[in-house]
Amino acid sequence: MKNSRKRIKLILIAILASAQLITPTSNAGGVGGTPPQTACYIEIGNAHLSTSLNKNQGLTAVKVNAISYCNFTHSNVELTVKIYKVGRFTNYLVANKTVKSGGLSAPGMRIKNQVTHFVCKNFKKSRFFGVASSIATINSKQMFAPPTRSEKIKTLNCGN
């Protein structure tokens, strides 16, 4: 009896976990940024229409910025930002970009990824969010910062 209850609990947890993964508003990890009490963390902004791309190129593009911080001396940082469009049944990746910082980075140094964008093909309203993750070498060990999602899903006049 006890065993079957445990099994039901486990199945329920598995169902809830998979539902979290497929729902359009699912969270890949922390939201907005992991709290800064950890030694290394990521901050990610909300999706927005880029003013610099619009001014420079006359392009309408969705952009998501992220920054990674580490309180240790670290090296070989790779900060990846992915931009997703919310679909009816699932989320669609529309752009991803990795920024690399080779060599040693001093404690507290910010590694920025301000260049991940998706050029809009039309002005159809769509919903977007970003997910950032990073890898760095600390004390000769490769450490992964878990994926962190934008705090809000933003509706923007940008279709594909």
Binding site: E43, N65, Q114, F118, N160
Partner: protein, 112 residues
């Protein structure tokens, strides 16, 4: 367009961003016809290589987008650094590939 600013970005960060996209624009203006030719070639062949100094750039098309990978060891290994959705249509790919090329080349040139 409504201006948006992430709280964690400093005015220097924003200036750096403006300089980056301005450089992308410069490359696009300077190499517009080359990028257009290369876009046609890529759509036809599905994959294209180019070289900037010691770095080898690889562009690979899939049904809906284009991936950019970089090799720093004479083509032994490639690391994918970027992917963007371009759409299903050939015309859409041809239209947006030049900007993608300029963006990727800018990244490599500024890293040097």
């Amino acid at each position: 367009m409504e201006s948006y600013r992430d709280e964690f970005l400093t005015p220097e960060d924003l200036e750096e961003e403006r300089a980056y996209f301005s450089f992308v624009g410069e490359l696009l203006n300077r190499h517009d016809s080359r990028y257009e030719l290369e876009a046609k070639e890529l759509v036809k062949q599905g994959r294209r290589f180019s070289r900037i100094n010691e770095s080898i750039l690889q562009f690979k098309l899939d049904r809906i987008g284009c991936a950019f990978s970089l090799s720093e060891d004479q083509g032994e290994t490639f690391q994918e650094l970027s992917w963007t959705r371009l759409g299903w249509r050939k015309a859409s790919k041809l239209e947006y590939l030049p900007f993608f090329f300029a963006d990727c080349e800018a990244k490599v040139l500024l890293a040097k």
